[in-house]
């Protein structure tokens, strides 16, 4: 069995999760401080990919990144790289689709953060950066973690936009989800089943790990001293 789709899916999901982690947190942090109108507008724009069909996201990305489109043509002539139909094209799709999950959960966590804690840190002489990384992020850990998990899961399962922007080339752009579709389409039920089982196994392990992490956190809290 060729394990390339598994490797490719995991690497795409991992890279986009890292990207979405920082993008989502930065967006949540800065947008929380904006005036209400700007906040409302940006909120709608940034959450849109969550409710749009993935094919619409894929089409929009192709319009932007295709070889004859402005960004795609510019990348081609400047760096000599293609933005579509390569393995990493899928990262664009997964980042856009997973971003709202990270952004919304992080924003929810930041909004429930007690601003007095930040003010206390500042009156004690600590920089805003220190307060953010040493107090706000640890206090909002649960929400941030939940957002990261959701983003990773969404990125791993992405199909629609990925298939449009990266296509299906065995050994190059194939991911688990595009492989399952391809195998089903070519009547290879046994092959499809293998990959379905792989996918189910990954998801189950993933959820188990998350549950374990949560229980351990709860126990640490109950047990008191670390």
């Amino acid at each position: 069995m060729d394990w390339y789709p598994l490797f490719n899916s995991l690497r795409i999901a991992a890279i986009s999760t890292v990207a979405v982690f920082f993008l989502g947190i930065a967006a949540a942090h800065y947008i929380a401080k904006l005036p209400r109108l700007a906040k409302g507008v940006l909120d709608v724009v940034l959450t849109l990919p969550l409710v749009l069909p993935p094919t619409v996201v894929g089409w929009l990305l192709l319009v932007l990144l295709g070889p004859k489109r402005p960004v795609g043509a510019w990348a081609q002539s400047t760096f000599g790289i293609k933005l579509v139909m390569t393995w990493w094209s899928a990262i664009f799709a997964t980042v856009v689709v997973a971003f709202p999950l990270m952004y919304r959960t992080a924003r929810g966590a930041f909004e429930s953060f007690d601003q007095n804690l930040a003010d206390a840190g500042r009156t004690l002489g600590r920089s805003n950066t220190w307060v953010f990384w040493r107090v706000q992020m640890p206090v909002c850990r649960q929400g941030i973690l939940a957002g990261t998990v959701l983003a990773f899961a969404r990125a791993l399962g992405e199909y629609g936009a990925t298939s449009m922007i990266a296509g299906y080339t065995p050994g190059r752009t194939a991911t688990i989800s595009t492989t399952v579709y391809q195998l089903w389409r070519t009547n290879d039920d046994a092959g499809a089943l293998r990959w379905v089982l792989v996918n189910v196994a990954i998801s189950a392990v993933f959820l188990l790990a998350v549950n374990l992490l949560e229980t351990r956190q709860r126990q640490a809290r109950k047990g008191g001293v670390r």
Binding site: D119, A120, G121, T123, L124, G125, R134, V135
Partner: protein, 347 residues
Amino acid sequence: MALSVDIKKQLGDFCLETSFTVENTVLALLGASGCGKSVTLRCIAGILTPDEGKIVLDGTVLYDSAARIDLPPQKRQVGYLFQQYALFPNMTVRQNIAAAVRDRARRQTVTAEKLRQFQLEAVADQKPWQLSGGQQQRTALARILASKPKAILLDEPFSALDSYLKYQLEAELAETLEQFPGTVLWVSHDRGEVFRNCRQVCVMDQGRSQGLFTLRELFHEPVTEAAARLSGCKNYADAVPAGSAVSLPEWGLTLDCGKPIPPDIRRIGVRAHHVALSAPHAPGAFPCDVLRVVQDVFNTIVLLRPETAAPDAPPLRMELSREAWYAAADKRHVWIAIQPRDILLLK
């Protein structure tokens, strides 16, 4: 070593105008809820920015709208004790205190010293949620003092505690503050707390500071109705000066004050425990109908209406010991006297 504040800030419909100067003492900001006390503290700490004005601490300008100076909170050296203490929940007591020491070389020694000084060594490695209320307050104070502030701001330090715990913590806090050389601002709506712990009082009423008073001036000779109300005075009436007496049209009375009345007096106040039973027809006494009797924990509260009062006049409130009321012969109709020195003349 002094703190001088003169600021204005508009918050929606609410307008804050505070000005006072205080030197190396414990100053209370006393006022009802929502009168702008906390906003004032936040402006001093740099958490909120006033619209205009000036704040100077020990010769350092913290804020000056004219000179466009607005130091960030980090550079103001003002310690702020938040209502719920705002301890960092992700850190231990030791880490909370260490976070306030920016000098890496001295961090360990200062932290150890504060842990010892505030008797927190036994709980040094616990998280804030594991501490008792008193330990939380001591941690917050230790953390503030570790940051070496020039002034300390206390925002209703006991608002969330029940009264038994409160007295214990209040004593501990007072002891700590006595050793602090700089200025302390203590925000409170509780006149007892202020009387026990502060030297000077700045009364705030609807966003405006009413100037500084010593405890004696506030509790024995308040000059405005807002100050009198905060000092616990319950009875008020419109007054017209009449030589050395005041005439009170609402109650249809003229009361002797034993001294010439300044012409700008518009109101009088009488504390409920200065309203006393008297023998019938005694000089200066007046007859009243009893409207209602309320039994309080240790006292009896009697609401009275002078016989000469207008129908819509506010009742006169009398507070006396249960025994004294029990001894009164007629409980529906009484004679009342108010000593001239007990009439508060208000502008």
